[in-house]
């Protein structure tokens, strides 16, 4: 059900990336690329290293080997702050919202990079600081409209049900107007209705804003439906890479999921 979108050049490329924690090898020699405006899914059994993969792209983890290149800039490790300034945003598997703040404030922090006023200007709250607050509030409200969470904007996020928290996290990522969006199991723990809503949102983001999306997901139906290309990981190694149809019929992938000994 992928509508025709102009998929562009390679915007993110990982080359033989390896990551280990002490003796545990999380990723071994992973190479794949992501093209602009596409929806790229990463799938694999639990513990395959999918979240670690995103963490490497983001700079939360630093790989021992390999390189990551984003928009042509090749690096041995990414830095979280730089990736944010370069337009990469993400959501987390176990919701990483700021529990002490309201929904609105959480999403506003997503736009922190866009606020230039100094602390003195903020302390007096006139001029540039005030203008920026209002402008950013405007943008944030657009995102809130887009994700249909107007009714909870003043609620402290800790009080929200799981599904809504996930939506707020997506809102926070979108508020930064990213060019690359990394989603870590955005539909985990949702019921059918919530999943359909989330799918729709992801597709809308991709179509309306042209955002490139890298998505970790367990629900095969969703993956096959919305993604352009799929990467399959197992035990930290890449065992499949291609369109959903190609991957679906790949023997190694089927074996990994069925648990054939290897």
């Amino acid at each position: 059900m992928t509508t025709q979108r102009k998929i562009g050049e390679v915007v993110l490329e990982l080359d033989r990336v390896s990551l280990s924690f002490g003796g545990v090898k999380a990723l071994t020699g992973i190479s794949f690329d992501v093209r602009e405006h596409e929806i790229r899914a990463i799938i694999g059994p639990n513990g395959a290293g999918k979240s670690s993969m995103l963490n490497v792209i983001n700079g939360v983890y630093h790989p021992q080997e390999g390189t990551i290149s984003f928009r042509g800039e090749v690096r041995h490790e990414m830095n979280p702050h730089r990736t944010a300034t370069q337009g990469i945003a993400r959501t987390f598997q176990n919701i990483a919202l700021f529990k002490g703040m309201s929904v609105l404030d959480n999403i506003m922090t997503g736009r922190n990079l866009k606020m230039r006023a100094s602390f003195l200007e903020q302390a007096i709250h006139v001029g540039r600081a005030r203008r920026e607050e209002l402008e950013n509030r405007h943008r944030v409200e657009e995102v809130i409209d887009f994700l249909e969470i107007q009714h909870i904007r003043k609620t402290p996020v800790g009080r929200l049900p799981y599904g809504l928290q996930k939506r707020v996290e997506l809102a926070r990522a979108l508020a930064a107007e990213p060019s690359l969006l990394l989603l870590d199991e955005p539909m985990a723990g949702m019921n059918v209705e919530e999943k359909q809503d989330m799918c729709r949102f992801v597709l809308d983001v991709n179509e309306q804003y042209g955002t490139t999306i890298v998505l970790i997901e367990h629900d095969m139906g969703v993956v096959m439906d919305i993604s352009d290309r799929v990467v399959v990981l197992d035990y930290g190694k890449k065992i499949g890479d291609g369109t959903p149809d190609e991957v679906r019929t790949n023997k190694a992938v089927i074996d990994a999921y069925l648990g054939v000994a290897h």
Partner: protein
């Protein structure tokens, strides 16, 4: 050169005393994840109670037993009234509760036993051991050596207790994960009771030794603060770490005071261990023996 060794050994031995106080912290932290800021107050309370009972007429051993009983009651009450209601709160909240607790215990100790300093006589004198002095020319205090000996025995006993007995294993399980420990049937309340009782005993030993050395007075509560750099160096969860940390703090404190002190006007004992711990933290945030924490996202 001999002077250097004298200062060094003196420092090491006083470091042993710090280790004792730090041990109490480690025990409670290991078993319940709580950083008990009130440990120093408990040391003070133990010493004050012992001296008070002794002066009221009880003999040495009776006073000792009675004080131990009091410490156990104190520990159990603390667990019941302060910690149990706060079980799910973040660590910072628990830490602040123990700060409040330390004020409470300090106030209570002085209300019960008065605020004047008392003398505590354990029968061991603080004088250089004659034959060592004659042999190598170093003045090592009898008292310090005895304290080191007692501390060594205590540490060995605790290490065996934690690592070789069933209860010790249960304690370690509880420290790791309360819910999992409950799930395998470990009686949480009993375990915590035991831990606080043991910590109370350690506080008692520390109280007696420190009280004999410096007199039983309010300043004893500041010992808790001195134990903090020890814990940072040695890690919060390691018994050997508390010992090593204590030795390092004791030795470096004395050496710094003697060799660097005169150049800056003296009195650097007050902050030197903290700055040392701070510098250490910058290099190795978990301490010598602490466990590295990996934050999973």
């Amino acid at each position: 050169m001999e002077f250097f060794f004298e200062v060094l050994i003196g420092g090491l031995l006083s470091g042993v005393m710090y280790s004792l106080v730090a041990l109490g912290f480690v025990l409670i932290y290991k078993a319940s994840g709580v950083f008990n800021f009130a440990q120093g107050a408990m040391v003070f309370f133990a010493a004050a109670t012992f001296v008070g009972l002794h002066e009221m007429g009880l003999n040495f051993w009776l006073a000792l037993v009675a004080t131990l009983a009091a410490m156990i009651v104190l520990g159990l009450a603390t667990e019941r009234i302060v910690l149990r209601p706060l079980v799910n709160q973040p660590q910072i909240t628990l830490f602040m509760a123990t700060i409040g607790l330390s004020f409470l215990i300090e106030g209570m100790s002085q209300l019960f036993w008065g605020s004047q300093p008392h003398n505590l006589d354990l029968g061991i004198q603080d004088e250089p051991i004659e034959w060592i002095n004659a042999a190598i020319g170093l003045g090592i205090s009898k008292f310090d050596l005895a304290a080191a000996g007692i501390a060594a025995v205590l540490v060995a006993a605790l290490a065996v207790f934690f690592n070789r007995t069933r209860i010790g294993r249960a304690l370690r399980a509880v420290a790791d994960d309360h819910q999992a420990a409950l799930a395998v049937g470990i009686p949480l309340q009993q375990i915590w009771g035991i831990v606080w009782a043991v910590a109370g005993f350690v506080a008692l030993v520390s109280g007696l030794l420190w009280g004999a050395r410096n007199g039983v007075q309010f300043a004893l509560t500041f010992l808790a603060l001195k134990a903090l750099p020890v814990l940072i160096l040695g890690g919060f969860e390691s018994i050997p770490g508390a010992i090593v940390g204590g030795l390092i703090v004791g030795a470096s404190e004395k050496l710094a005071e003697v060799y660097i002190g005169p150049k800056v006007g003296g009195g650097i004992e007050g902050w030197f261990p903290y700055v040392l711990a701070l510098l250490f933290l910058l290099v190795r945030p978990e301490g010598l023996f602490g466990e590295k924490r990996i934050d999973r996202v």
